[in-house]
Symmetry: C4
Subunit: 356 residues, 4 copies
C-alpha cells in the first residue's frame, strides 16, 4: 500500500489497532458534531490563489515563540502513544526531532519525559500540563520539564471534567495493565482507585480559574500557552493574564459537543488578540491545504493530534515522519500554487470571505 | 447492552415495542419535516464555551413557577404509557418523583390521576388539559387534579383537530381493548362511537379560542400554561390574557407539518415575552447539550416526550430514571464545559448567533 | 394498500405503468434540477401557525376568475390521460366535476373536448392552448371550446421548443398507435411526418411573442391566462397586455432545467402584479401544506399535474377523486392547524421569511 | 446505447478506458473538493427565463478574439489524446474543424502540431504553452505554431508545480512507452530522467512571473491568453500587462484543492476587467444550460476538457463531434427556452442573484 495522504494512515490505523484503542483515539463527545465539524469546516473555506509570482524558492519555515521550526505543523498532545506503537512517545520524539518541529508532550505519556528527552536530545518540545487538585503534583512536573529543556508549558483548560465519549464508556476503556502513565510512576502510592487512565481518579481540578494561571506563572519562568480557548472574550482574558500563546482548540471535539469548529472561531480570536500573543490551532487538519487556510486566517502554527497517532500506528517513528513529511510537502505545494513563497506572504487575502 | 445515551433507549424501544405502538410514538404529521427539524435544528446551533471559571461546584437546580426541580428537564405530556410499560404512568410518576422534576400528566393517561398521585404522593405534577365540547368534562378534570395537588394546568392549544400521521392511518392505530383512558372511566356511557384513542369521537372542541382561556381561569385558581405557541404574536396574546407560562411546542411535529423547529422560534418568543411569564420548550431534546442550548436561548425548562416513553419501554420506572439521570449528567457536564456553574449563568452569550 | 397521501399514488403508478409511460410523466429536462427543486423548495419554507382562533368552521372555497371552486387546487394540463387509464380525460372530467374544481384540459388530450364535456356536462373547465404555426388550427380549437362552455384559455408560453427529456429520448417515447390526440382527429391529413406525440412535427410556433396574445384576444372573448411566467418582468408585461391571469409554472421542470422552483419565484411575481390579475402556480404541490404555503405567498389557486395522472393510474375517476379529496382534507386541516378559517385569512404572516 | 448527454460519454469512458487512464483524466488534486465544486456550483445558480420573445431564429455563433465560431464552446487543452483514442489529437482536430469551434492544442499532445494541422487544415486553433526553464524550448514551440497558423497562445500559469493527484501516485501513472509527447520528439536527447509524462523532469519553470509574459510578448506577435486566473487582482494585472484574454480556470481542480469553482469567481473577474479583454472559463461545463449560465455571468466562451476526452474514448472524431453537437443543441435550446435569440442577448438579468 502506498501511503499518499493522511487518510491512508487513518485507514491503516483503523484496520490494525484494536477496536477499543481505535475508538479511544477516534472518540468525540456525545454526538460527535464538533469533532466532525472540525473537518467539514475546512471544506467550506475557499482559497484565492495568486499566479505568476515566482515560487521557485519555497520556504516553509516559521517560528513559534521565537524558535524556528521547519514548517508550521507541530504535534498536539495526545495520550498513550504506546497504545499505537510499542516505542510510544520515544518514536514521536525522534520523528519530530528529525523533521525539526515542535512536539507538545502529553502529561499522559506512556514514556516519561526523561526517557523522551533522552531519545531525542535535540528535539524542540513543549510540555502539556493539567492543574491537579494537588498543585504540588503539577509543580513537580513543571520542575522536571524545566530541567529537561522543555521550552514552554501548554496549559490545557478545557477539561474541568472529561467529556462524554460514548464508545469509551461502552468499551469500558482502560489503559492495559502493561502500560503506565510513566510521568506519574512513583508519584502515587499503589492504590486501587485508579481511573480508566491508570491514574488515581479525580486528580484533575475542576476549580481551575485564571488565578491558577497566576499561580503557574509564580512557579515557573517558562512561557505559558493556554490550550482550549474558543471565544474572543477568553482570548482577551488570556492576553490580560500575561500568557505567551493561545491554542484555539476544542480538544478534538472530545469535550463539549456543540461547540464551534476551531477554524471557524480562529478569526474572532486573532482579531481580538491583535498580535499581542501568538495564536495556534488544532483540530481537523488533514491536508497541507488545511494548514494554509489556518495560517491565512491568522494561526501562527497548527498542531495535529489523531494523524500523529495514525503515523505511529503505521510504523512508529518512520510512520510519523511520513505523516509529517506529507503535510510538509502538501503545505509547500499549496503555498506555491497559491502564489506564496514563504509563510510571511500568507494572509487573509487568500480567503474568499464572502463565501464564508 | 450499556445504555449510554438517549439513542440507546430509542433503539431498544424500536426493537421491543410492537410496530403499531412504535409507529404511534414515532409519528410525525404528513412528511415529518417538522418532527425531524426539531432535532436537526439543534445541530445548526454552535455554543461558545468559556474556560477557567471554577466549575467545581455545579448546580443544575432551577424553579418552574416557583417550585424547585433538580434540573431543567421535565416530562412532556404523552398518551398511553401502558402501551410502553405495563405499569404505565405509575412508573412515570415514581421516576419523576425520585428525580425531583416536573411530570406533566397527560389527560390521555392509561392510569387515572388518582392512581398516579397515589403511586408517587410527593411528586411535582402539572396536568395537561384539553378543552372539550362538553366544557363540563374539562371542568371535572380540573376539579379532580386540583384536589390531588396538581400545581398547574397545561392547556394544549394546537389540536383543534388531530394531525395527519400517515403510519397511524395505515396501521389503523387503536388503543388495545385491555387499555383504557382511565381518566374518563365512568365519564362516558358505553358507546360504539369510540375513536382510535378509546374515547368518544369529536370530543375535542375546534372552536377553542382565547375566550376559553378566560373560562378556564374562571373555574380554577391554578396557574395556566399554554402549550403549543410558535409565534411572537400568540406569545404576546398569551401574556395579555394573563397566563402564567408558555410551552413553545409543535406537538413533537405531530400536528402541523411545515412549522418551525421549536428551538428555532424560541428566541422570537422569549424576546416578545420579556420575562413577563416563563417560557418552556419541548421537541427534539436528546442530549444535555440540547438542554443547554435551549436555556441559553431563554427557555426556563424543557420537556421531553418520546425519550420518556423509550425509558419506560426499556425498564419502566427504572428505565425512565436512567433516561432522566443521563440527561441530568449530560446537562451538568455541558454546563461545566461551557463555564457555567448554575442555570443563572446560562445566557445568550453562549450562542454563536452569526452562525445561525 | 391504504392510499393515505399522494406519495402512495405515485408509488402505485410507478409500479403499474409501463416504464416508458412512467418515464414520460416523471421526466424533467436535462439533469432534472428544476423538477426536483420544485418539491425541495417547499421543504425550505417554514409556516408560522396561529392558535386559539376558533377553527370549528373551515371553509376551503375560493374563486378563480369569479367562479367558485370547492378548494384552491385544480388540474394542470397534462397530455395523454389514456396512457394512465383507459377512459383517459373522461375520468378526469368526471372527477373534477364531482369535486367541483377547475380542470384545465390539455390540447394534447386523448379524448376530444366534445367527449370531455359530454362526460361531465356541469364541470368547470379551462382550455390549455398552444399557438401553432397555422394560426387557424389554434383558432379552430378556440371556437370549439367556446361553444363547449370552457371558461378561459390557458396559453402555454414556455414551449417554443420541447425540453430535452433524456429518458424519453432513450425510450424513443411515442404515443402508442391505438391512442390519438383526439382534438386533432380529422384536422391533419394522414401523414408520415408524425412526431412522437402523434401529431405532425413542428406544429408549435417558436416565433410566438406578445403580439400573439393580442391576436388571441382578437379572436376570442374568453379570458386569457398565461402559463409559464417565472419573472416579475414578464408578469408586468402580462398585465400590460391585458391578460386575466398568470400561472407561475416551469412546466413541471420539463422545459428549461436550471430555472427556479415555482414557489421560489411566486413572491416576486405577486409583488409585481399587485393584485391587478390573479396569480396561480403549478409544480411540486404534493400535500395540503404545500397548498397553504403557496396561498400564503400569494397564489390564488394551485394546479397539480403528475399527481392527477397518478390518481388516474390508480383507479381512473375514483383514483383522481381520492387524490383531490386527500389534498382537500389535508389543506383544510393545515388551514385549521395554522389558525385560518378560510382562504381569505391566509396571508404572508404565515411565512417565516427570515428563514427563506 | 443511445448517447443522449455528456454523462453517457463519461460512463462509457469509465467502462472502456484502463483504470490508470480513467484515473488520470478524472483526477483532482488532494480531496477533489475543487474538482467537484466546479460542477456543483452550477447547480446552485438559478436562471430567470423570459418568455414570448420570438425565438424562431436561434443564432449560437460568437467570436473569440475576432474569429467566429459556431457556438461558444471550445476544447480546453488536455494531454495525451492517444490514451483515449488511437488517433489522438488528429481526431480532436477533425472534430473541432467540422463543428467550427476553437481547439486549444495542448503542448502535451501525443501528435505533433504539424500532424494536427495537416489533419484539419482549416481548423481554428490556439496553442497552449508552458514556460520552460529552457526558454528556448518554449520559443521554438511558439515559432512552430506561428508558422502553422495557430491564432493565439494560451499561457498556462497555474502549474509552477504539478498538483497532487492521489490516484496518479498510487497508479504510478506513466505515459505508455508506445506513446510520445510528439511536440518534443527530437528536442530532448535520449535520457533516463523522463518524468511520468515522458518528458525530462523539472522542465516547467516555477519561477515564472509577469516578466515572462513580457518575454513571451517580445518573441511573438500572437495574442496571448492567460489561463489559470481566479482573482480580480490577477485579472487586473493581466489587463495591465497587455494580454488579450483570460481563461478563468482552476485546471479542472487538478492543481490547488480548496480554490473556488470557476463559475463562482467568474463575476468578480468580469467586473474587474470591464470589457478590456475577453474572459473565458473552463471547468465543470456538462450541459448547454451550464454554458448559458457562464455566458450570462460574463464569459465570452467556455472550454471543455474531460468531456472532450470522453467523446474521443467513445468514437474518436465521431465521438467528439457528438459531444460537441449535443452541447451545441442543448445550448441552443437553453437559449431559446430562456428567451434569447443570440448570444448578445444573454446577460446578467438571466441570473437569480439573490439566490447565489
Amino acid at each position: 500500500m502506498t501511503m499518499v495522504c493522511l487518510k491512508d494512515f487513518e485507514e491503516y490505523a483503523r484496520q490494525h489497532l484494536s477496536k477499543a484503542t481505535w475508538d479511544y483515539y477516534a472518540a468525540g463527545a456525545d454526538e460527535c458534531c464538533t469533532r466532525d465539524d472540525n473537518l467539514q469546516a475546512y471544506k467550506r473555506i475557499r482559497l484565492r490563489p495568486r499566479i505568476l509570482r515566482d515560487v521557485s524558492m519555497s520556504d516553509t519555515r516559521t517560528t513559534v515563540l521565537g524558535t524556528e521550526i521547519s514548517f508550521p505543523v507541530g504535534i498536539a498532545p495526545t495520550a498513550f502513544h504506546c497504545l499505537a506503537w510499542h516505542e510510544g512517545e520515544l518514536a514521536t520524539a525522534r520523528a519530530t526531532e528529525s523533521l525539526n518541529t515542535c512536539y507538545i508532550t502529553s502529561t499522559y505519556s506512556t514514556c516519561s519525559v526523561e526517557e523522551i528527552c533522552a531519545a531525542a536530545p535535540n528535539g524542540f518540545r513543549w510540555f502539556q500540563l493539567y492543574v491537579y487538585r494537588d498543585r504540588n503534583l503539577s509543580e513537580q512536573l513543571v520542575r522536571r520539564v524545566e530541567v529537561l529543556g522543555y521550552k514552554a508549558l501548554v496549559l490545557t483548560v478545557d477539561v474541568p471534567y472529561t467529556g462524554k465519549r460514548r464508545d469509551d464508556i461502552r468499551n469500558r476503556f482502560k489503559l492495559p495493565p502493561h502500560l503506565k502513565v510513566k510521568n506519574f510512576e512513583g508519584v502515587f502510592e499503589e492504590t486501587t482507585g485508579l481511573d480508566e487512565y491508570g491514574v488515581p481518579a479525580n486528580t484533575l481540578d475542576p476549580s481551575i480559574s485564571w488565578k491558577d494561571v497566576h499561580w503557574l506563572q509564580s512557579v515557573t519562568r517558562l512561557p505559558i500557552i493556554i490550550k482550549g480557548i474558543l471565544t474572543k472574550e477568553d482570548a482577551e482574558l488570556a492576553v490580560e493574564h500575561g500568557v505567551q500563546g493561545i491554542i484555539v482548540s476544542n480538544h478534538g471535539g472530545r469535550q463539549l459537543d456543540g461547540g464551534p469548529a476551531t477554524i471557524d472561531c480562529l478569526s474572532e480570536i486573532v482579531d481580538a488578540v491583535q498580535g499581542r500573543v501568538e495564536v495556534y490551532l488544532d483540530g481537523g487538519v488533514r491536508t497541507g491545504g488545511d494548514v494554509l487556510k489556518a495560517l491565512a486566517l491568522g494561526a501562527k502554527c497548527v498542531f495535529i493530534g489523531r494523524p500523529a497517532v495514525w503515523g505511529l500506528a503505521y510504523k512508529g517513528e518512520q510512520g510519523l515522519r511520513e505523516v509529517l513529511q506529507i503535510l510538509k510537502d502538501e503545505f509547500c505545494l499549496s503555498m506555491a500554487l497559491s502564489g506564496c513563497r514563504n509563510v510571511a506572504e500568507i494572509n487573509r487575502n487568500l480567503i474568499h470571505f464572502s463565501k464564508l
